[in-house]
């Protein structure tokens, strides 16, 4: 806009923007890396190869893969019926799908403890099958699925609605079954937003802290995810180790931001 291009307006605004971002976003990144490196490369590599780090890494990967996998199926199903079918209670369904976005992570953890914990109302069921859910990986997976639940659907529904139902309807008139329509007509059109939704879900799954902290029980080597391990090391004043483990998460963050920007160029959500 021409009238706002004068240097008197432009320069101060750019300086404020850059200054704010540099202080609040760039400095922390530099800090993480420099702290991780403060005890030398040898120490850093040892930390990464440490059994507890590896176990936490595996648990985080498992939680991410499982929640992303479940969300792939759930997100596609929900988007399919919301975009292509009319049924009573659709608004309620939409609200329920968005619900996890507006709940504090700590409350997410709490409701799963209330359900499956020792005093929870499903506790007898859990005991009957001799399952360990709370303070064990299953609870971590469940809360991670919960917090990532809306992402895929929210990316897909607007794309599908903007596209219209006619291609799918035509394919059905031509005798195609569900699988033919989905694989040949719908999937090619939604590949990118679907992948984008999955990337967003992985970001949240990988980094989830509050909800996992409530249900994990913090058993070192068993129920610690990478973010929990970071906290645990930090609380033991092993700062350079905490920041060292944090670099793994930081690297994944950069990968995710890159993928997100490639896949969801035009999407305003994040």
């Amino acid at each position: 806009m021409k009238q706002f291009q004068s240097k008197r307006i432009k320069l101060p605004l750019i300086i404020i923007a850059w200054g704010f971002m540099a202080l609040l976003l760039i400095l922390p990144i530099i800090l993480v890396i420099s702290q991780a490196a403060s005890h030398g490369l040898g120490h850093y590599l040892q930390l990464l190869a440490n059994l507890n780090t590896l176990r936490a890494f595996n648990l985080t990967v498992a939680a991410t893969v499982i929640s992303v996998g479940v969300n792939l199926i759930l997100g596609l199903s929900a988007a399919w019926i919301i975009a292509f079918h009319d049924f009573p209670g659709k608004r309620l369904l939409n609200t329920l799908i968005d619900l996890p976005l507006s709940v504090s992570p700590v409350i997410v953890g709490l409701i799963f403890v209330l359900t499956f914990g020792r005093t929870g109302w499903l506790a007898p069921l859990v005991a009957h099958f001799n399952l360990q859910i709370i303070f064990a990986p299953p609870a971590i997976f469940l809360v991670t699925i919960f917090v990532t639940f809306p992402f895929v659907t929210r990316e897909l529904v607007p794309v599908l609605i903007a596209r219209g139902r006619e291609e799918e309807q035509t394919a059905a008139f031509l005798g195609a079954n569900f699988w033919q329509i989905f694989t040949q007509i719908t999937l090619p059109a939604i590949k990118t937003p679907l992948a984008g939704g999955l990337v967003l879900a992985s970001a949240r799954a990988m980094g989830e802290f509050g909800a996992v902290a409530v249900v994990s029980g913090n058993i070192v080597g068993k129920t610690l995810t990478l973010p929990l391990l970071v906290q645990s090391l930090y609380n033991q004043f092993k700062f350079e180790d905490a920041f060292g483990v944090a670099t793994i998460l930081l690297a994944s963050t950069f990968a995710i931001i890159y993928l997100k920007r490639v896949l969801l160029k035009n999407s305003p959500t994040f």
């Binding site: 021409k2 009238q3 706002f4 291009q5 307006i9 605004l13 704010f20 971002m21 609040l24 976003l25 400095l27 922390p28 800090l31 993480v32 479940v70 199926i73 199903s77 929900a78 292509f84 079918h85 009319d86 009573p88 619900l99 507006s102 709940v103 504090s104 992570p105 700590v106 409350i107 709490l110 409701i111 799963f112 209330l114 359900t115 929870g120 699925i145 919960f146 639940f149 139902r165 799918e168 309807q169 059905a172 329509i181 970001a203 980094g207 989830e208 509050g210 409530v214 990478l226 973010p227 970071v230 906290q231 700062f239 998460l249 963050t253 995710i256 931001i257 305003p268 959500t269 994040f270």
Partner: protein
Amino acid sequence: MEQRATNRLIPGYRLGLSITLTGLSLIVVIPFCSLLISGIQMGWQPFIHTITDSRVVASYLVSLKGAFSAALINVILGLVLAWVLTFYEFPGKKLLDALLDLPFALPTAVAGIALAFLFSTKGWLGQFAAQFNLKIAYTFSGIVIAMVFVTIPFVVREVQPVLAQLDETYQEAALTLGAKPNLIFRKVIFPEILPALIAGFGLAFARSIGEYGSIIFIAGNQPFKTEITPLTIMFKLEAHDYNGATAIACVMLLFSFVFIYVIHSLQRHFENKRLGKK
């Protein structure tokens, strides 16, 4: 209008509905019912007693004040960021835009320890602030900074598309009438972006209220001073006081829903006003 079963042309309705409802029930509905059951079982007296406990009430205030300050700061800085990214060309613009994704993608625990370290009295920024006798980490300011960090993108991402769509000719028409930039901003641009600003404020506020991971490292977590409500719930849980945790969680959820409703109404109100004016 419901379609008759025979009239669903596109297949996959029953399959999709079954999967969605099963997933939704297991993951969302049943756990929420637990909260409801637990809340009802504890009885009215203990419920009221818990949620009006002075330490708990203090935590509400810390959370509310913190979230409000953070959302307000982000409305101003978010507008500046969105403005700069939409209207100006400058070095590092793409990097700046990409950086805005960081608060969402970066695990909150990493953000939390980095901010705590940065703003502690020995940290790079904390040292600097200490020269002016300012203490940031382990104070209320620390909470606000963490909240600002995690909610930076909300306002920017709401306002950016609106600014980009602002009709250039509309602007120039106003300019030819001799309007100054100042006037154009107040009379033309501001009404256009107001709904987006409100939406961004709402999202940032709601997220700040619930945020946990990035705050606890920098907050200091002193009861009555720097204890946020999610942390109060966490303490109750650690003490195995599930009833107490449930009661506070119910208050938080109720507040969130009412707040989201109010923000939606406000947003719609200003949206209608904007469209009505045109």
